[in-house]
Amino acid sequence: MSGSSGEATPNRHARHGSSGRAPVVRRATRGPLDIKDPLSNNPQLRGAPSPLNPPHSSLLSPALHTPNARSPRILSPGRSPGRSPGRSPGGPGQSQYPLTPTTRDFSHLLRPELYHPLSHLDIAPPFRTSQHQPDSSTPLPDLLKSGYFRSAAIAAAAQLTSTTNQISSEDHATIFSLFYTRLSCLTLCGNTQLAAQEVLALEDLNSAYYRSDLDGKHLVPWELRVLAVRLQGMGFNDARRGVMGYYDLGREARSTLSKAKAKLRSTEADEEKAGLTKEIQIWEDRLADLGMRVASALVEMEDLEGAAAFMKTLPATEPGMHMKKALLWLALGDIDAARACIRSAEGEEKDEKEEVIRALAFMAEGEYQEAVTIWEELIARPVSAGAASERAMQRQNLAVSLLYLGGMDEARKHLEVLVDEDNSFHALTFNLSTIYELCTERSRVLKMALAEKIAEREGSARSNQGWEKVNLDFKL
């Protein structure tokens, strides 16, 4: 050690990357409309200048209130997305503007050059040529229901850019619903990076341009705003932006919540009360969800320490919170802290989720045999409603434990049974493909056969796990 002990602090040295410690400067929002798109130099080309560029970004800008010359379209206030069914119409009281309905031009989201073509190359071959490939005329809701997420992403973009069945550039409800479908399906079919590029077209969602003139409500549905936070963080290659974006949304959720609660206290009408109670529940759920998303964002940027510190600030009463904390401790390697999250006392009927943590803790210690015992006990329990997928997880973890003990044949059998039971989640196909690679030089044959088997899937197995699998899922 150097002689400069005076400088050495008892704690560790400061580090960047944690939320809330170092002041973080928000970067100016830049989008493809400003930089990457050649068309942006020529706004006349499609009559679609970026509506979010500075001259227009203020609510006070008169340009916003000029009725669009082409096709003014009256939206009823009830069309505001994100509105809960029971909510009373928002009071226009706070608006100092005349009661003009909100018209906004979102034609920049309808431009074909915004949407990337999807490559076929990453799809596992049996899915590329399958007779199960959906017909191009299949309606979007059916594609979503059947787990054809890649086709749904393509269909959503096709609808947004259709010239035969053109969407009005002011029909924000339709545009944002399709845009959400596009982005969410891109993330589901392994094209998150493309989604992170396409989301940049939304630019700054905090801009007043996205607010209704009538009641200040956001025009973009909540789910798209939440999804956009992570994707924009990736698109701008700035994960901290994601964390800040969730905080922005959290602030809004809190303020909406406190307003609704104040209103509930002052109202007398039963019907309105019921509506408000429902609304409060929705926003409380959203706020809790944002908390987990902040923690997840910190984990994703590999700041597990920051995530652990943050999660200590979340209310422990939230369902499943101690399990989530335990998983984070395990990822960090603090096995004792993970075990401390298990609450049930000795002798009590053992909670299934806590048993999962116990088994994982043994695996973290390298005590695979102990873990096998717990996994086997869990699998032998009767399957209650909704627990079938938990059994699948436990059985696949049993298979992993067995492999570490030299029980590869048995591990393979367990995983193959899971595939036969209509499971096709990534870890399962990935782990089974890993075992195939271990047990023969001709693993490609086995992996292709596995992919072919899953390509033949129908029904719910598709809808809740996605149908089209990529090469990475099978290590092809």
Partner: protein, 336 residues
């Protein structure tokens, strides 16, 4: 593996082997990650993807909104190897003959795997013990265990023999895992013993850098029944995580030689009833620790003008509990 050298001895490349060798480093399995999609409020017109589709496995738990799931994924790559960790690896000898008897009349028996680790400081490789000694949950095989181990294993077409080796990494530098597979190949007319050897090279890096400093503390006043006053020192150490993974410090103990006792002044010193918060070290982070070292009664003799207190043992856990452990050389103070 990071780097594989394929050296076929004896038979060279003359004839394709009927048995293949496949290896996988058994680092800890990881928790599968997921990015749960925010789902729209239910509405009669809206359709959206099933919320389960964005989860690591199709859980029906509506509170699944965290990035980590309990579902385990096998290690996708070799990763980094660090001093202090236990290197663990599975070796699979596979009978690659096609199961149909019409094309091949060969049979494979007597399959044996041997593994050695070549380390930087020694020219002689270290023979590794292969576990487990018998297949799991198979009482038949477990019974005849002893004899079978010596003679090697019967291996039907398409079957595999799996073994697991472990090795404590103690040195930085290039390591070579050498695996030899020996088997008997029998046809109706002849039989022969065949063998091949594969080498897997990887580099082991340091993960924990330790810097220490000793300072003299004021001695305790002499008690009436003591001959000398009791000398005291403060031993400080900086522990730097110079690996690429986040680690959690588990134990840091000054193991004292006879004649000394040490008191840790670190994170495990918490008031009764409070949780111990173990320090988390991200790559590049430094944790400072401090120990008070005291003489017990009569001071031990110095060697070459140095008093040796003992050694520092450091234990940590990496991602998913991967354990690391090392102890320093002798630490002490120079007497003036």
């Amino acid at each position: 593996m990071a780097h594989q050298r394929n050296v076929s001895t004896l038979e060279g490349v003359k004839e394709k082997h009927s048995v293949s060798l496949k290896v996988l480093r058994l680092s800890r399995p990881s928790l599968s990650t997921q990015h749960p999609l925010p789902t729209p409020l239910p509405s009669p017109t809206g359709t959206y993807a099933s919320p389960a589709a964005s989860l690591a496995y199709p859980s029906t738990d509506s509170h699944e909104n965290f990035i980590l799931s309990p579902l385990l994924t096998l290690p996708p790559a070799f990763g980094s190897a660090y001093v202090g960790e236990t290197f663990s690896c599975t070796l699979c000898a596979n009978n690659e003959l096609l199961p149909s008897p019409s094309t091949s009349t060969k049979t494979i028996s007597n399959v044996r795997i041997e593994a050695e680790m070549k380390i930087p400081s020694s020219a002689t490789p270290i023979v590794l013990e292969l576990g487990p000694s018998s297949a799991l949950h198979d009482p038949d095989e477990a019974g005849a265990e002893g004899a079978k181990e010596k003679d090697g294993h019967e291996l039907d077409a398409g079957k595999s023999l799996q073994k697991v080796v472990s090795f404590d990494l103690k040195e930085e530098g290039s390591h070579v895992l050498a695996v030899t597979v020996t088997y008997s190949e029998t046809t109706p007319t002849s039989g022969r013993v065949r063998t091949f050897r594969k080498l897997y090279q990887f580099v082991c890096k340091g993960c924990m850098v330790v810097r220490t400093k000793t300072g003299v503390l004021p001695s305790s006043p002499k008690l009436p029944n003591q001959e000398n006053e009791i000398r005291k020192w403060a031993l400080e150490a900086q522990l730097e995580n110079c690996g690429e993974e986040t680690i959690t410090l588990d134990t840091v103990i000054l193991e004292t030689n006879e004649g000394f006792k040490s008191t840790g002044l670190n994170w495990d010193l918490v008031p009764r009833g409070e949780e111990i918060e173990r320090p988390i070290l991200n790559p590049g982070d430094v944790q400072q620790v401090c120990f008070m070292v005291e003489e017990i009664q009569r001071g031990p003799e110095p060697e070459d003008g140095r008093l040796i207190f003992g050694v520092l043992s450091i234990g940590w856990r990496g991602p998913m509990g991967n354990r690391g452990y090392l102890s320093t050389g002798s630490l002490g103070t120079r007497l003036r």
